[in-house]
């Protein structure tokens, strides 16, 4: 019974936990602090085979400045800001 549980863990953890970990890194990459960075590196190290399995099928590039643009030749809406901030807004530091 213990061998069966271990086999289940070996098979399914890389397949199902890795998208959650990668999405967590996508959402928090420019907002994380020390402890969260430590945890992200820890999970990357632990689940690295799953990360290599999933990496060719995932596209986490940034969305355009106007998120409603459907094509690269579409025209952005009128109130779109000129540059997209990568970091949290600066007025929260004041």
């Amino acid at each position: 019974f213990r061998d069966r549980v271990y086999r289940f863990v070996m098979v399914f953890f890389p397949l199902f936990l890795q998208p959650i970990i990668m999405n967590w890194m996508r959402l928090r990459w420019f907002k994380r602090k020390f402890v969260e960075t430590y945890l992200q590196f820890m999970f990357t190290y632990l689940f690295f085979p799953g990360m290599m399995l999933w990496a060719p099928f995932v596209n986490f590039r940034k969305f355009p400045r106007d998120p409603t643009m459907k094509y690269p030749w579409s025209k952005p809406k009128e109130g779109t800001p000129l540059f997209k901030d990568r970091y949290p807004p600066i007025e929260t530091y004041k």
Binding site: N23, R26, L27, K33, F34, V35, E36, L39, A55, P56, F57, V58, N59, F60, R61, K62, F63, P64, R65, D66, P67, T68, K70, Y71, P72, W73, S74, K75, G79, T80, P81, P88, P89, E91, T92
Partner: protein, 211 residues
């Protein structure tokens, strides 16, 4: 506090508009103290926007068909580059040869590509101002192609700096020279997409045009 911040869950969908995104970010930062999860409005991007990468989309057949059919394409590779190389390799296997040009410093595309054009090199110090004449870029390379070659692909890098009139000339260049194909990198996108250059340059009606 840090473990609470790390354990906070946010839905993966980005905000629908920049204003909501801005407010959402400020709200999320204002709520750092309490452990409540930040709420996110439902957004346009679905799960399919995150599927991509190197092995997902086998579209080489469509790429070769579109190059044969439209003869001049506008491509939008990802910002970091690298993806256009596999599409270029497929054209190379087909028997095409390449003329790589940068749109910056191209001058007049019609004169540079199809006519004998002057080039004035910089005069360094006490030198007379020279003026050299070069053969047409496209016609010279077409004359050097061996008879079994399929054609010449003019790969224009940084074509986002070209005006609409210049893009229109690049779009009609395969009509002037039948063995020429034009690939213009007209911008960037988060996956590799392409479109007929005549629709981008306004010579044909665009079926994807909005409003």
């Amino acid at each position: 506090m840090w473990s609470a911040a790390a354990a906070r869950t946010v839905t993966p969908l980005p905000a629908a508009s920049p204003l909501q995104q801005h407010q959402q970010r400020r709200g999320a930062w204002a709520r750092v103290g309490n452990g409540r999860a930040a709420s996110t409005t439902a957004a346009r991007a679905g799960l399919w926007d995150f599927v991509g990468g190197d092995l997902v989309k086998p579209d080489m057949g469509r790429w070769l068909d579109d190059v044969e059919k439209h003869k001049s394409l506008a491509i939008y590779p990802p910002h970091e580059g690298g993806y256009e190389g596999r599409y270029l390799s497929r054209l190379s296997y087909q028997g095409y040869y390449f003329l790589d040009l940068s749109a910056r410093g191209l001058g007049d595309p019609e004169t540079t590509l199809t006519k004998i054009h002057p080039v004035c090199p910089p005069s360094l110090g006490r030198q007379p101002v020279a003026r050299w004449y070069f053969p047409p870029e496209v016609d010279y390379r077409l004359s050097l192609l061996h008879p079994d070659a399929k054609g010449l692909v003019v790969w224009v890098m940084e074509a986002k700096v070209l005006s609409k009139a210049e893009l229109q000339f690049l779009a009609i260049l395969p009509d002037i020279r039948p063995k020429v194909r034009v690939i213009a990198e007209c911008g960037n996108w988060r996956k590799f997409v392409w479109k007929p250059l005549k629709q981008i340059a306004g010579l044909e009606p665009d079926p994807d045009a909005e409003e």
